[in-house]
Amino acid sequence: MDPDNDNSKEITQEDAWALIKAYFQQHGLVSQQISSFDRFLSYTIQDIVAENSIMSIVPEKQYAPGSNENQDRDLRYEIELGQVKVNEKPRFKEYDDKYNVIFPNEARLRNLTYQTSVYVEVTKRDKVTNSKGVEEVLEQSKEKEVYIGKVPVMIKSAFCSLNRIENEYEMKECFFDQGGYFIINGSEKVLVAQERMANNFVYVFQKKQPSKFSWVAEIRSQVDASNRPPNQFSVKLYSKGQRRAGGSFSGGKVFGQTICATVHYINQDIPIAILFRALNCISDKEILDKICYDQKDSHMMEAMRASLEEGTPFLKQEDALSWIGSRGAAGAVSREERIRHARDILKKHFLPHISTEDHCESQKAYFVGYMVHRLLSAHLGRATEDDRDHYGKKRLDMAGALLGMLFRNIFRRYVKEAGRVLKNCADRGQPLNISKAFKKDVITDGLRYALATGNWGTNAAGEVSKTGVSQVLNRLTFASSLSHLRRLNTPLQKSGKLTKPRQLHNTHWGMICPAETPEGQACGLVKNLSLMAFVSVGSTAERLKEILENYGTENLVSIEPENIHNATKVFVNGCWIGIHNDAEDLISNIREMRRSLFIPKEISIVRDITNREIKFYTDQGRVQRPLFIVKNNKVLLKKSHVERLQSTIKSQAMDFNEALAEGLVEFLDVEEEETSMIAMNVEDLQNRQYCSTYTHCEIHPSMILGVCASIIPFPDHNQSPRNTYQSAMGKQAMGVYTSNYQLRMDTLAHVLYYPQKPLVITRALDFLHFKELPSGCNAIVAIACYTGYNQEDSVIMNQSAIDRGFFRSAYYRTYCDTAKSGEHFEIPDVTVVGRRHGDYTKLDMDGLIFPGKNVLGDDIIIGKTALPRRTFERDMEYGNVIKKDDSTALRHSEKGIIDSVILTSNEDGDNFTKIKMRAIRIPQIGDKFASRHGQKGTIGMTYRQEDMPFTQEGITPDIIVNPHAIPSRMTIGHLVECLASKVACFQGKEGDATPFQDVTVEHISNDLHSLGYQKRGNEVMYNGWTGKRLDTRIFLGPTYYQRLKHMVDDKIHARSRGPLQILTRQPTEGRSRHGGLRFGEMERDCMVSHGAARFLKERLYDVSDCYSVHVCRECGLMAQANVRQQKYLCKGCQNNTDICQVGLPYACKLLFQELMAMQIAPRMLTND
């Protein structure tokens, strides 16, 4: 037994929830976004400024006749950007120059951007090179705070104004809002995490034959967290019988499979021996030492033979460098120049993650050797191909990283531009005006543009490189907002038919929700984080390297190659730094340091025993999750700790961080997880027969699910696609999307009248605030056939229940408008041109409608007039201006009541108004509802209480669903939920539907039996019309139902006649434009196959764009016609007699005229 095991009792699975609660109290659900952003604004921004900190301005020497003063002086200005200062709170400068702290709600209402100012300390040095060639500083001046621009601030981050406010609701914020998004021009934007392949990883792939190469080992090397594009380097093994193209230098005498390398900036593949020689490994022995760590490994030696032979003509380092240099971009230059060029490339652009300093050849040679070793191991069948989809090799760029990339690009451009302005100044001999050179809007507008449109950065050609990075936060339901903030996107061609990256991978366990992903094109590419998944923020590797050195890691530079075989290789962030002789000891030491938070908790420690490697990762974007630490098959967290976690007394209480610091739990990333032995639950640890060397234990298996999947009760009883469907549908459910919805002006919002928390819920819902902001009702549901009005996924609903407020909801729509210069909010009088046909009488004196007014389709709600474009004051005085109407009308298909009106000014000081309309939506035939199991349906019929089937107790169902919805879909969870709800209802308790626990249907059934009901939930029911008993017993009980946003009132549409498009004169498209219904290709095909030619002509011509033209029968072109005067003329032919009328679609006439405009004459030849 463990001696320091205290007397406190072992925990049970139930106790894990105390820890889970502590985790969410500390981290919330959007900490990945917020911590990433905080790092950006507190550190990354400073790093980026430091990267581009020094500007050197050398004035062009001007010839000034007469004055030979300073002529021989080499003046140089140096501008250094130093300390960055970020304003603590977002402020907003009003148009009248008042400067106020703003809060998010104000930014939302007034369409402002929630952003804070950034200042930089600028030092200017005037330097002169004196006659001795030494630079002297003539003058030095410092400007403390030079404004460089504004950066959008994430809500609830360290820089948000809400940070210092105790009660969010005082600032009109939602009590449950978690932040994690930005407000750009009044709209809430989320930066969706972007998934990418990790850099600095060696991947070995087998090439599909036929191909030149059989195996390839590649690496995308990038200096830690820099924004330089990664340099690809690969080592390739030729296929059998493949000769290298143009390999004439070896005379084609080499037999066997050779290895070559592809280096960035070098146009040709380099034989591996040449690369080694260029890296100063001259003899074959030296090269082999780097590759075959085991001298007795004859197989690998043999595999290298051909490659070494290939390198025999180049035995000196200079020769090799010259060979490489001549294949670079420089081309034909002198040998010295070539060698210098090759050295430079190998230093700066070859494996830059190892080093870009001088004297790094040996380290790089070791690394190339390691890659060749991996390649040959795979080739010799000792190792398998690497898995591209392994989640440990993926990194997530969160908001901070994305903003960092963007800021770096913009800042570089900005500094360049500033340099140009300063240079201009200097050239003219003017003093350097620093505050003028640093433009005010470049950074502000650049960041704002990217966040507003989602177009993330531009490449060299000026094209948008990524789209859809920034999205408007989904505010339909609270859960949908949360889920949106935890979304991941894989920027991959959505059309690509490759299925591998879309599939659920083993390594997604606990990190990525297995259920929540969209259907269709983006399936599997858009993912969602699991509840307890956390994304590393990143830290520097320097401190870790120091520690490693202190703990006996031998640096690569100082080791004997023979020692490698018996030692363990140590990698930090993919860079091989040395070897260690006692891996076990090192690992346990470093692990202890992490468990005591001596080094950051997010550093991952991976020990690969088979390959004798230890890998450390400190970079940002790794997905991690907390696990219980297990020692001697016992969880270290004991009952005493649980008591402290639950304690409300401050001095005794323990939070999650303390649990980390005491080494009870730790974060593991995917790579490290793979080298651990993790028990599924606490009970499994007792079962020593299966495994007695557990290292960790799952905190709770239900934590593998994401936000939307956590809402599903008993998901472990459902067929898996049903959980996916529900995850998508939960986002369309109505509820209370935020507690401050009355104070917000969202373009579209639905609020449920009497939302209820579910009778049966999963434990995870506590942390999602689903109980406080629910999105549905507990309906009494019968699964039955009754009258047949619930066939094909429709449901019968109880009209009396609807009368009593069941699933009633309010619908809000906001209209907004700005009065730019020349425009005014006023009631447009009769003199105004272009008046709409709507009702102007509902406007108030100020030109805006007032709250409480009933409005319906096409009513004018914002009256606005605009002066013609060129209006002079003189015209105004004489009153001879004719104003144009530019009013806003209500959408023609909607009606409701004006809820609220605001009139304020926007950023430019223009008058700006937002008008919120409200309508009540009562469930009716055609509205859509769904349970929490992917079972959706529309109302097919409503029956009053007396017509509904009833039980002996007089209970009538609210909803009757058809039993055919169950067997093929296998949503057993739906039935179990109903049963558990029934029990919960009678017991007056909340039912527990958390997955992967040992509640069984039998359990619930027995409870129900003891409550005096048929144990499977069936009940005898009677027909509502006849009173006769129904032959079958009906499964009846409460089930949580959601009302989905799709309602008939928003869809109903018909048209007999209506508006036409101007260009083609065909009917307009879409309900909002009162459009026609498309008679499409398939409908056309159907008519063709029926031979219904006249009908087809009617649909496609008579009721669409029927038109007729007059055609000259001489030339076949369209002629002039004046039907009233009976005069016809073809101008070209001077023909006014031989003209006939032809009926054709207007679109056809248009086409002919367009063709004529491009010198093609479509002639219509007519017969009698």
Partner: protein
């Protein structure tokens, strides 16, 4: 023919089992199911009561918007003992409204210093002598219960509402239904074969008793017989017969059925009308409907 329909000729009997302030329980014997069900349906949908039908909102600064508030007001049950003295709004000859078809109420409250609960107590009739008024519930101990909460007003919020109460039926809107629900139970009939005593061993008998979720059966320990304890609790779930079926016993040991023309009614009033009133009104309406029907059939017969 006469066999099936002739049964209706028997005189039905009512036996009242229990009358409470809000519920009545009675037995309807010797009555065809169609009559019993008609009675149930009429009680739910055809017995008229009074409820707020029209709301004028002069001022509303509460958190609930106007429609929400009106909906809540509409659902408040009103004491409707005098419904018969009012006309249906649509059948009334008056122009907009008159005292024959509508009663006016008002709700004018302001929260002056703290959060204020606006309840049915704050609804005042314009005519103080009016007998139609919001229901005040009295609990089992005879004490008055808290009035129904309509909305909570925060400081300085105000509501000023005028309500028109009208007569209506549950057919039009559920708010006019005088009952929460009507329970109708056909009298269960359980025949235990005398051979059951011998065919089952004690363990199986205990199993049989436990199989019933409603505890209808009781094991008589002395005589080793299965007795019926409370037959009215049986809800025809057939668990007992299924249990015996699974034991592979002869299937005539136990027969669970229902008495075809015995009904136990339990009427739960919303408080708008006393339960016995609802029942008697329902009968009157049923008779009216019948006579109307017979009149119509006579007329059509005359035409032929």
């Amino acid at each position: 023919m006469t066999d099936q329909y002739g049964r209706g000729l028997r005189a039905p009997v009512i036996e009242i089992l229990d009358i409470g302030r809000y519920t009545i329980k009675f037995l309807l014997k010797e009555c065809h199911i169609s009559i019993a069900n008609a009675l149930r349906r009429i009680m739910i949908a055809d017995v008229p009561t009074m409820a707020i039908d029209l709301v004028y909102i002069n001022d509303n600064s509460s958190v609930l918007h106007d429609e929400f508030l009106s909906h809540r007001l509409g659902l408040i049950p009103f004491k409707s003992d005098t419904v018969d003295s009012y006309e249906f709004f649509r059948e009334c000859s008056c122009k907009p409204s008159c005292h024959k078809c509508s009663v006016e109420f008002n709700l004018r409250e302001t929260a002056l210093d703290d959060v204020k609960d606006i309840t049915t107590d704050h609804i005042n009739a314009n005519n103080p002598d009016c007998l139609v008024k919001p229901v005040k519930y009295i609990n089992a101990d005879g004490n008055e219960e808290d009035p129904i909460l309509i909305v909570k007003l925060a400081k300085n919020q105000k509501v000023d509402i005028q309500c028109i109460v009208r007569k209506g039926t549950g057919k039009e809107h559920a708010k006019w239904s005088p009952v929460a629900t009507v329970q109708v139970q056909q009298m269960p009939q359980i025949d235990i074969s005398p051979s059951l005593e011998e065919d089952l061993d004690t363990e199986e008998k205990i199993g049989l008793v436990n199989s019933c979720p409603a505890s209808v059966y009781k094991l008589n320990a002395e005589k080793q017989t299965v007795d019926i304890e409370t037959i009215t609790d049986c809800h025809q779930c057939q668990e007992c017969t299924i249990y015996l079926e699974n034991l592979n016993k002869k299937n005539d040991l136990l027969k669970v059925g229902q008495h075809e023309d015995h009904f136990i009614f339990t009427v739960e009033s919303t408080g708008a009308l006393p339960p016995e009133e609802i029942v008697s009104k329902a009968f009157t309406i049923l008779i009216d409907k019948m006579s109307e029907l017979s009149q119509c059939t006579e007329e059509s017969d005359a035409k032929d």
